[in-house]
Chain length 453, copies 2
């Protein structure tokens, strides 16, 4: 009973912190451009870091957004050294981060190293319990290389599966086997499925993944829809929509997941279950990004910990929701830690994870994310602010139109986040709204009372 | 008021007929193989026709099911003339019926003419109100040729749309335009969308179709999720699963429709609306098949109308459900006609269509199907019996296993029919269950007390 009370109290603390944060967020958002007074002291060394989203903030497709190049160049001193830790956090995942760093360096004309780039799948490095399993990977680009680089030791691609079981993928008439009974080479059963990002030929991946889920990873078995839960599924990048060069949003990996979830449910009657959902807005992603920020600060010779993070993005459901959810996590971790110290003398023994698992309004996926991402409180930043730009999915101009799809994103009727994330509309409210990335960076340096030039 | 009462009474007649049919169906199914006594007189000329499903009945993929070849050959006399009208009714639709007839003739070694083949899209010939519209067609194979052959005069393919708007389809990184701002040729707006069958590269078709639905057919417009209902969508072939050579069922066009419906709903919050759903189990399909049977009977020189149809299939949700639903339609049409004659002297003026539109338990799609398919009662057969074979989706042996996916098809928890078809479990119960197509044909000729040799 004592334990249960502590958990409940811990959750109330978490809730009150989130509510407080949301209120501050709304106030800040309404006082847009009122940046003349810094929120932070200019005394002492710099103590903040920047998280940049890429698509819709720096680029649209292959096109650099005006001002973005100069803005990033301003963050580097005349020796080519970054003035503050900078990490590029994207939900893209169909490439190696080395490749992404090279592409970004090229288009922005500033040197960006792989350690500054975080793709949606990057946190899979810490999911070591899956590294020795036989995993099927879904995505496009060098998926095998990406998986092995993350630590997976026994990787099977969709093409390898098609090759081993030539009768499974028959939707495209032209890719059906010529021989009606081709030899089935077979494969050792698959233990888990990793969804890196949107694949090509969705029909092939959807068919083969549903086959594995219904056969306990072995397509030689007969479909068994009662085998539930199915083998583990880990998904990176839940983005439903993103902005490329086209006028309207384009489909992201989140749309592929909507297809997979609904096909599985139509056939079996059960909900597809994710072992983990990685990428923005999951807490595990921000915690990993913060780890990269801290490593950079150390390389910059900073002796005091990074206290404040600023996350700049264009997508209310991914960038803003994620930064605010992470901020809730930071506040909860801090206050729960204080609470634990206060109650420990009275026989309390609850941990932060236990508090989170008691949280009444969190889905199991959110809880898993938070638990996995947990680190000692003293190493964590004090807060994470969210800055929304209007050059991507969100557009201030369009918001006034009744037909605006981005406007309805924050309405209860339509939820553009992932199925397994409870929708809290206050978390889509940014700390600040600015026009573009240039204004965003200027705002941060004003807030920190730190000269940008 | 008088009219409303007539409608209500008409619907009660329809219901009581369906219930009666279901009871008879159950009885017949339980008296399996008790065919020694014919249900029909052997006196007079032959008066029945056969509807054969193809996949799972005659073929599995490209492989002929044992006995099927001889069974069809037995239906042809020594002059090469069919003994009774025979129509091959398939939900496949990614080809011309000429091509399908040639393929079938080749593998079954019997001459089958195009007029004996009915593909899922064949009834689109009677949807003349769409023939002059500018339609986008989705599917694989010769979709342009198929559409033009059905009567459509202004047809746009997915490839033409991709070519006119090169920025829309960017999921496959390798198919993105090299030039970041390629010239957009544009197109006159699309008026309606025709979904023939499962396409390849589902991501492309899903993205472009959702683009059209959200832009009133013109991708130059900004997405407007409040524009509802969207432009008309007509879909052929709702089959969720079908049996090819693989041990387990393969994805059909119904799975593509599940994806489209759920993506549209995820983005807009609204249900995707179909102007028509064509192919088995829709009544419009069986009515069209019956028309082909009647035409064949005339060519055979039969002077009396075809009174009984036998539909042989492997899929409880498509073949059996469809034949039983059509049988309900036949009974209702007949009884409602009698009722109308009786009430016409008392001021009643309700038609069969009006009765159907008043039907409380039918979805609008089912009502549309029935209304479209309506023909004078005196031209309709007396009944349509359903015969289930165990060589395809349904397997009697597997049914006893608790894990059997086909078993659960008829359970309320899982519904493998289309979203817009109300699920009535009694309609999945066949008139007869037999092992294979050979037994099915023997059974029919026994029932009709007609020598097969």
């Amino acid at each position: 009973m004592q334990r249960a009370k502590i958990f409940k109290y811990g959750w109330q603390l978490l809730k009150s912190n989130c509510d407080g944060a949301a209120k501050q967020v709304t106030t800040s958002a309404s006082s847009l451009r009122d940046h003349s007074v810094s929120h932070f002291s200019s005394q002492g060394p710099k103590s903040f870091g920047l998280l940049f989203d890429i698509d819709g903030v720096l680029l649209r497709g292959k096109t650099v957004i005006p001002g973005a190049k100069q803005c990033i160049r301003n963050l580097v001193d005349h020796n080519g050294k970054y003035k503050v830790p900078v990490v590029f956090v994207t939900n893209a995942g169909n490439c190696m981060r080395q490749t992404k760093a090279e592409q970004l360096s090229h288009v922005l004309d500033v040197e960006i190293c792989p350690e500054q780039v975080m793709l949606s799948h990057s946190p899979l490095r810490i999911f070591t319990q899956f590294h020795k399993m036989r995993v099927l990977v879904s995505g496009q680009g060098p998926v095998m290389e990406v998986a092995e680089n993350l630590g997976f030791q026994d990787v099977v691609t969709i093409d390898m599966l098609r090759d081993a079981y030539p009768l499974l993928d028959v939707i495209d008439h032209n890719r059906r086997p010529k021989d009606p009974s081709p030899p089935s080479k077979g494969l050792r059963p698959i233990d888990a499925i990793i969804l890196f990002g949107e694949p090509i030929r969705w029909e092939t991946n959807l068919q083969l993944i549903v086959d594995l889920l219904l056969t306990n990873g072995n397509p030689d078995n007969v479909w068994n829809s009662n085998q539930y839960p199915h083998i583990p599924v880990l998904a990176c990048n839940m983005d439903l929509l993103w902005m490329a060069e086209a006028k309207n949003p384009r489909f992201g990996h989140g749309m592929f997941l909507v297809c997979l979830e609904n096909l599985y449910k139509k056939v079996t009657g059960y909900e597809l279950k994710y072992q983990a959902l990685i990428g923005k807005p999951s807490v595990v992603t921000y915690n990993y990004a913060e780890l990269l920020i801290r490593q950079q600060a150390e390389r910059l010779g900073w002796t005091t910990p990074v206290k404040r993070l600023y996350a700049i993005g264009d997508n209310p459901m991914a960038d803003i929701y994620g930064a605010n959810l992470y901020n809730c996590y930071l506040q909860a971790a801090r206050r729960t830690s204080t609470q634990m110290q206060a109650t420990s003398g009275r026989g309390g023994s609850g941990s932060f994870e236990e508090t989170l698992y008691e949280a009444p309004k969190m889905t199991s996926t959110e809880q898993d994310d938070m638990s996995l991402a947990h680190r000692p409180v003293e190493e964590l930043p004090e807060r994470c602010s969210s800055i929304l730009v209007c050059t991507g999915v969100y557009s201030r101009g369009q918001q006034e139109l009744p037909s605006d799809p981005t406007h309805t994103v924050t309405e209860q009727r339509i939820f553009h986040g992932h199925r397994d994330f409870r929708f809290d509309p206050t978390l889509t409210q940014p700390s600040f709204i600015v026009q573009d990335v240039k204004e965003a960076v200027e705002l941060v340096f004003q807030q920190e009372a730190c000269p940008l030039d």
